[in-house]
Amino acid sequence: MTRTAPAVTDERIKPAGLIITLLRRPEVGAAVAALAIFIFFSVSTQAFLTPAGVATWLYSASLFGIMAVAVALLMIGGEFDLSAGAMVGTTGLIVGIVTTEWGVNIWLALVIALAIALAIGAANAFVVMKTGLPSFIVTLATFFILQGVNLAVTKIITGTVSIQGMSAVPGFDAVKVFFGSSFALLGMDVKISIVWWIALTALATWILLRTRSGNWIFAVGGQITSSRQVGVPVMKVKMGLFMTTAGAGWLVGMLQLFDVSTVQATTGIGQEFIYIICAVVGGCLLTGGYGSAIGAALGALIYGMTLQGIVFAQWDNNWLKAFLGGMLLLAVLVNLYVRRQAGVRS
């Protein structure tokens, strides 16, 4: 019974080169689609490839991308968070209100907003896990509630539906260094949120592929009963995922607040689906258990490039959504084609 493990080559496998092996990663389809869209707009518009142009679409992509990566982790773990978009508004409004209206220290305000966001994320997880209701519905309820609260509370406290005078708050500029600054690189004026985006994508990828928690995320999303049976702490994993998404909402909320120095009560509404779209274009399965963080980041890149590319191309703006739809379909089809070529079944 001490047969040695057979050699890795096996007559029952067709030889597959490095390229095919690479092509099997979930994000490769998205990478090819992103490249196609990049080339398309680079060739067909003038401003797209200029430093100022690149900085614009990268920034646009980064705001979607940070959330998309978090949402992708959650989706791999088998859940949705429709309150992710509204959370961006909620956190921004909290910081805005407590600083401009009540004069709370701005750093403290950041911490308060983060704590509230994480608490809401944990509450989502708790309700989903305890009741067994689909997260789609639970977080939809959270979304509605946040949307209503954002509006009503902002109105009650400030008398208007947006935060004014944020840039006059003491310490604003110090915080702006982390969330709203930009630096020069290759002639571009790179916003700091792009750095956050890349760093988070790298971190998420490492967690997914090289840590225990990553293994568990795939497992709870792929087959929750089996995971429970082999002893994966399902509750903890889901709790962590919902809190991560809420935390990402906070981060994006801060990035937006300290960039434009204002936030409206309607901020973030309707954005939740964009995150899901980015994740799916990037190769995540809606049913959970499969996907990648890099893919989601690429999905956001595709979205950001398309959104700004259409403007650079000066197409009639009324068609915006139609173009977006077409591009979306194109991206997923390219994605599919590439993956089929690589012999991966969806």
Partner: protein, 295 residues
């Protein structure tokens, strides 16, 4: 219009149903005006809004079912609320129309109209921009397909004499709206004017103009304290102020008077509420009110 309700302080209920969706900056001020009037006069004011004519009609029907003493309706899409308004009139409820729908107001049986159409306000903005030597303008629509916003841009195009291109952004993502405005400016350096229709978007637009190193002049609809500050700083040329507060305040006053005193104000003629223009000269005064959410 009950006969024995002459004494002031009698319970009066006024229902307001507009086409503004909750959270819209403009309609929020209208709502504040209506509610303040209610408070001042001791009347109960209820406010509802939905941009879809079917839903707005349902809201009007629902309001009529509660038998208010007066009904205030905005008519962005007059055909859409015609039935509902006529039903209200038939039920004996006095109706005042506000904001848009001036032309149909009388036909549908409303007593008077308060405000002024978005188109005329847009025309005003166009004139002012033309006076500032601006000829190639982007008009930033922050809610796709919103009739009122489309009318404002159309009005501006009507009087500008140059070209007006509509650009769509999403008010729920102001940071990205800024990107889109920046992209437009980068794509066409000949753009020398930006007209925004929301104060939040105006702030983003001023930043976008800076980042794109463009010399385009910026004008906006509606004011907020950030906007008045930017006007004082010279970054925004002017803000069109339709004085939405009075579009809410006045009709509530009229209907309360009617319920308590039988007064029918307006004499069949519309009451204009604007537009005013906020420029460097008067921004200081307006700033004070904008902070309270009444301008």
């Amino acid at each position: 219009a009950t006969t024995d309700a002459a004494a002031s302080g009698d319970p009066v209920t006024i229902a307001v149903v507009t086409h503004g969706s909750p959270g819209d900056t403009f309609w929020d001020v209208v709502k504040s005006g209506a509610e303040q009037a209610g408070k001042d006069l001791g009347a109960t004011v209820t406010y509802q809004g939905d941009g879809d004519p079917v839903k707005q009609s349902q809201l009007i029907d629902a309001a009529v079912a509660t038998h208010p003493d007066g009904l205030i309706v905005s008519m962005a899409n007059p055909d859409g609320v015609k039935n509902a308004v006529e039903k209200a009139v038939a039920a004996g409820i006095p109706v005042i129309t506000i904001n848009s729908g001036l032309e149909q107001s009388r036909e549908f049986g409303a007593q008077t109209h308060v405000g002024q159409s978005e188109f005329i306000a847009g025309q005003g903005a166009g004139e002012q921009l033309a006076a500032a030597d601006v000829s190639n303008v982007i008009c930033v629509i922050h809610e796709a397909g919103n009739t009122g916003l489309e009318e404002r841009c159309k009005g501006a195009a009507d009087t500008l004499g140059g070209s007006v291109t509509n650009v769509q952004v999403d008010v729920a993502n102001v940071a990205d709206a800024q990107n889109t405005i920046k992209s437009s400016l980068l794509a066409d350096p000949s753009i020398d004017g930006v007209l925004t229709l929301n104060p939040g978007i105006a702030v983003a637009a001023s930043q976008a103009i800076e980042e794109a190193a463009s010399s385009a002049k910026l004008a906006t609809f509606d004011v907020s304290s950030d906007v008045t500050q930017l006007i004082l700083d010279g970054k925004i040329l002017f803000a069109v102020d339709q004085q939405p507060y009075s579009q809410g305040y006045l009709p509530v006053t009229f209907l309360t008077l009617q319920a308590r005193n039988g007064d029918v104000v307006g004499g069949g003629m519309p009451v204009y509420s604007g537009p005013g223009f906020v420029t460097k000269d008067n921004a200081e005064q307006v700033a004070k009110f904008a902070k309270n959410g009444t301008r």
